[in-house]
Symmetry: C2
Subunit: 461 residues, 2 copies
């Protein structure tokens, strides 16, 4: 069935506003690498209409590609035929429950909208990432998003109390009432979280809320090595416990680039840099002193503490402007990787040596969330020709992933598998695991209609 025919059918039960007149914005992915083909984009305004669309597609064996804010980086919501089911019009905050400290939302709510609703209720919703102004919570859940606050609050998976999911057969599984203890056979919620739209459509979620911060203290620390940064992390996390919100690692070279770009001086001179932020739910005048004393007494004198909100902002700008500042280096090959924190130093040392042996002209910009072991490990080559770039990309990825795997790490920390990395999955999950995944997929989606050809490698068995 072609898009025109699909439209004719769907018009019988969808309102005109549920089929966007301008479809193009939904068809090209965020990185402009993938384009959806031969499909119709729909934006149902009710869970009932999601069910109707799903039943229609099931009956006619049409593929369905669920889509949130279309901010994914691995080609996870790109369609080839059938329907792109965008959740953007299912975007209401359903319920705030302060006794259970939860918020229940439609899957199409923009992340920033949820953060704001929490703040207005004097609560805090911790998921925070670069695309928070346009990404949708359903997509965040389907991809198990990470972002800035994983060290303290965990990934998206840790923030979900319950889900409402429309299954490929059109039935709903709903567990939106908050239960903080519940052990009733296999926990299926965690299958849907991170399933990238292959097992059903998340239409609603109940999420955890937290106490807002009343005190924030930010420090910049220069260290001699990654090993020393890991030692500092180990100590400071045990002293300040959950107050430790951010522990960011920045190479001297990354800081140099960002300092020039930001027109901000470098806080300290060192081989490696660490940005630390503590928050506390109580208003506490002494937290900064405690942190400064702690750093001084433990030998980290090469450090500064932000003395004002402006100084704090400057430190964060140095960290956040790295991405922009590195563009002067040319084409970059980026990696969404994580390794155990204890392995970060070994990984960076061995991988960087290997890359620079193979590509003497390569520039490495290394920074990331040391507190959760995930790194931005960006490899720059002075190449602008796209064809040559693609060739290099595969070769460089192979080297990087080989060192990631040797250090017991992951090839997909927080962006998921999508279209881009399915062939890498067998390197991180065993044959038994992938066989079980296929059975789960096949039970819920026997005709392989939900986001086909994503996540799982092609079945060559």
């Amino acid at each position: 069935m072609n898009p025109t025919q699909i439209r004719e059918h769907l018009q019988t039960f969808l309102s005109p506003s549920e089929i966007p007149s301008d479809q193009t914005a939904f068809l090209l992915d965020q990185r402009k690498r993938y384009t959806s083909e031969n499909c119709l984009v729909v934006q149902p305004q009710s869970v009932e209409n999601v069910q109707k669309i799903v039943r229609f597609c099931s009956e006619h064996r049409l593929p369905i590609t669920p889509q949130g804010g279309n901010t994914g980086l691995v080609g996870g919501s790109v369609a080839d035929g059938g329907i792109v089911l965008n959740l953007g019009k299912l975007n209401q905050i359903r319920h705030l429950n302060l006794a259970d400290n939860t918020i229940t939302v439609d899957a199409g709510c923009i992340l920033h909208h949820i953060q704001t609703a929490a703040t207005e209720a004097k609560r805090f919703f911790p998921l925070s990432l670069a695309s928070e102004g346009s990404c949708q919570i359903g997509g965040n859940i389907a991809c198990n998003a990470g972002g800035l606050n994983v060290l303290r609050y965990g990934t998206m998976r840790d923030l979900v109390v319950g889900l409402e999911v429309v299954l490929p057969n059109g039935e709903i599984v709903s567990h939106l009432h908050p239960l903080h203890k519940n052990t009733t056979a296999y926990e299926l919620k965690h299958l849907f979280i991170g399933s990238e739209g292959t097992l059903g459509i998340i239409t609603g979620a109940t999420l955890k809320l937290f106490a807002p911060a009343a005190t924030t203290e930010t420090a910049w620390v220069g260290v001699d090595s990654i090993a020393q940064a890991v030692e500092l992390l180990t100590q400071i996390r045990n002293q300040f416990a959950e107050r430790l919100c951010s522990f960011e690692l920045i190479s001297a070279y990354a800081l140099e680039l960002s300092s020039q770009y930001s027109k901000l001086s470098q806080p300290v001179a060192a081989e490696w840099h660490v940005l630390i932020e503590l928050t506390d739910s109580l208003p506490r005048d002494d937290l900064g002193d405690l942190l400064a004393t702690y750093l001084y007494e433990n030998g980290y004198e090469n450090s500064v503490l932000a003395q004002s909100e402006q100084e704090r902002q400057n430190l964060w700008n140095l960290r956040e402007n790295i991405s922009e500042s590195q563009r002067v280096l040319g084409a970059s090959i980026k990696h969404d990787i994580a390794v155990p924190i204890a392995q970060v130093a070994d990984f960076v040392e061995t991988c960087s040596a290997d890359l620079q042996k193979n590509y003497p002209e390569m520039q490495l910009v290394v920074f990331g969330h040391l507190g959760d072991g995930s790194l931005h490990y960006n490899c720059f080559l002075p190449i602008v020709d796209n064809r040559v770039y693609d060739e290099y990309e595969d070769a460089v990825n192979s080297i990087v992933y080989q060192h990631v795997l040797a250090n017991h790490g992951t090839i997909a920390a927080e962006h998921g598998i999508g279209s881009l990395k399915t062939h890498w999955l067998p390197h991180v999950r065993s044959a038994d695991e992938i066989a079980l995944m296929r059975v789960i997929k096949s039970q819920l989606d026997p005709h392989n209609l939900f986001n086909p050809n994503k996540l799982l490698p092609k079945n060559t068995a």
Copy 2:
């Protein structure tokens, strides 16, 4: 194959010490309600031997019932034929990783052993429950144990970084290296957690550690109603955030019983009582003052703050002696239930009224972890005859569970389903969910050898 024949086969590859000479301690369950029949208990001393036993059982189609400390309360590790595979001799701490703040352990480690190892490393492992001196971590994981620290640290599920599991085909799935961000297709770890030994045998686990407490403050607060206790919880959690470790609810009647039994005076007079404990990783002299001021300024003057460790211990004894003190009331029907915190007041009011209408002579002892919505809801009838007791039990359970379900709660908060509650599962999980569970079970365990007849209801389809 009978136990003698099984023993003859296993002796060819197990050492004598891996087949306990006294088997009886492993055959009767904790509550003395279930006895294993016609089976051989084995205690392999290596993961390799677990694999060999599993392969042997698979080949000969012998059931395997995994067993930890045999402290379960729902008949989850009771066998009918085949092998009871007790993990008790696989009991080493494998690795402490302070950079990642994790500990990797054998599944047969006693929970208290892990707590101690964490403490010796100046860390804290938060899982804590009544049987911690004899329960094993593998069993805690297989049953998603809860216990005392769920409010702050979550259930067992939230404390597992990775698992090593021997599948029913004898293969190992191992993810023991700590990754704090990892999104590589379906998360299968959470299927094994809470699967009660039906999908494989957990042989090892990597667990989260936390900072130890340097400051502890404990208060006892009298309130007029459960609704007022929930209001206090809502406020205090938002003020003191993660410091809030315990928020226990105790009825006036439960306190009266415990006070008499403990020979300790009641801290305050009130209809309902709340025991609050805050901890902080920093040594802070002012935390008690902050708590006292907070209670006073918000109208909770009917309260006392423990001024010494002895006073603190007395408050906790009043809470912890309730279980013992209630025995004077006769036979009790207990429930492992939880409802959303916002529903606790409604549940207690409507359920208690219904029970007392049906059983005017019934005494109710109500207390529990209000902070996570789970209640000890104990119903006492002046009956000693076991036969009559069994009849009452089913009828009382039906009334209690009906009110639990009407309040969106769960019939199994932290003890699991086991043999006892399989027939209740369809009340809390949908037909689609149970169908998916059966497919998962059947893929991993096609001959239904792992803990058969537990967890899932009999398949009448």
